[in-house]
Subunit: 145 residues, 2 copies
DNA sequence: TTAGCTAAGTTAGCATGTTAAGTTACAGGC
DNA sequence: GCCTGTAACTTAACATGCTAACTTAGCTAA
């Protein structure tokens, strides 16, 4: 079946995401989307909703709903920014931290297993992917101006 | 910002998909999901809903709804399989063929531009991606048995 | 011919993505 | 002190993914 890069990427990631989602729901009772949001707050320091949207690659309304859900679940603390402005300051609750740290490494390891099994050089593929993301980001920002 | 492969892949593809969707809606008045479904019927010969689900990497209920929409829009022809069984035979209408052929090449070219701009070797990245998809597919099938 | 098996498709309800259009909090000029 | 602009967030309506449960069509065997 001859396919092209954009299609293969789309389908590969759709499957990886779905597998991740199934594992997380079964073993940790949380969805992959929610886990990603918590990870970006906890480990990459997304401290406002706008920043979190930017890091996640989704829109602000999506984040607005998500933070409401995570706060209601007791995983995320959402406070008005003490520095002022119409901002929310995001941080993990103790429970949120526990979830992120217990999952993250286990998770990346599983993907590494698939990569190793396929014979694709992990470091190189990761580097290419990161570079594509950076470039695409830049092109979008330039086009947006 | 230090990130990992699974996260970068997820975000990269989320952005590519969203950009694709915006372009298609603006210039061709169709969503990316619908375009992909038509492409797989037209160019890769997905001739039943189950096969189409497999190729798209989505579930059968998703395809069931999608084929209904595409048929209602006059882009897809959905008929009971003359060979019998509870099957639908899928094929593009004239309009569906027109849409697919006018978009597909233009589209892959845009991605190739991003890849070239980033300095990532296209052929190698495409080959790695295809290999990962094949491997992941196999692992999932093995685990499913 | 009828009961059960299997493959393929559908329905219902929910999760999470989107866009478009509002709202809120502050800053700056008059 | 009040208008206006900007940044950040929210609300509403819809698109499309999922799982669970059901239906439909044909096959096989008693």
């Amino acid at each position: 079946m001859e396919r092209n890069l954009s299609l293969n990427l789309h389908v590969l990631i759709a499957r990886l995401d779905r597998a991740a989602d199934r594992i997380l729901r079964a073993e940790h009772n949380i969805s992959y989307s929610r886990f990603l949001a918590l990870t970006l707050v906890g480990e990459l320091g997304a401290s406002t909703q706008r920043t979190l949207a930017e890091y996640l690659g989704v829109t602000e309304p999506s984040v607005s709903r998500m933070t409401g859900i995570l706060a209601a679940d007791g995983l995320l603390d959402v406070q008005p920014d003490p520095a002022g402005g119409n901002r929310r300051q995001l941080s993990l609750t103790g429970e949120g931290k526990r979830v992120v740290s217990s999952i993250r490494q286990e998770f990346e390891d599983r993907l590494a297993t698939v990569v190793a099994e396929s014979g694709v050089p992990y470091a190189e593929y990761a580097e290419h992917t990161a570079r594509l993301l950076t470039t695409f980001d830049r092109l979008e920002r330039e086009a947006g101006k």
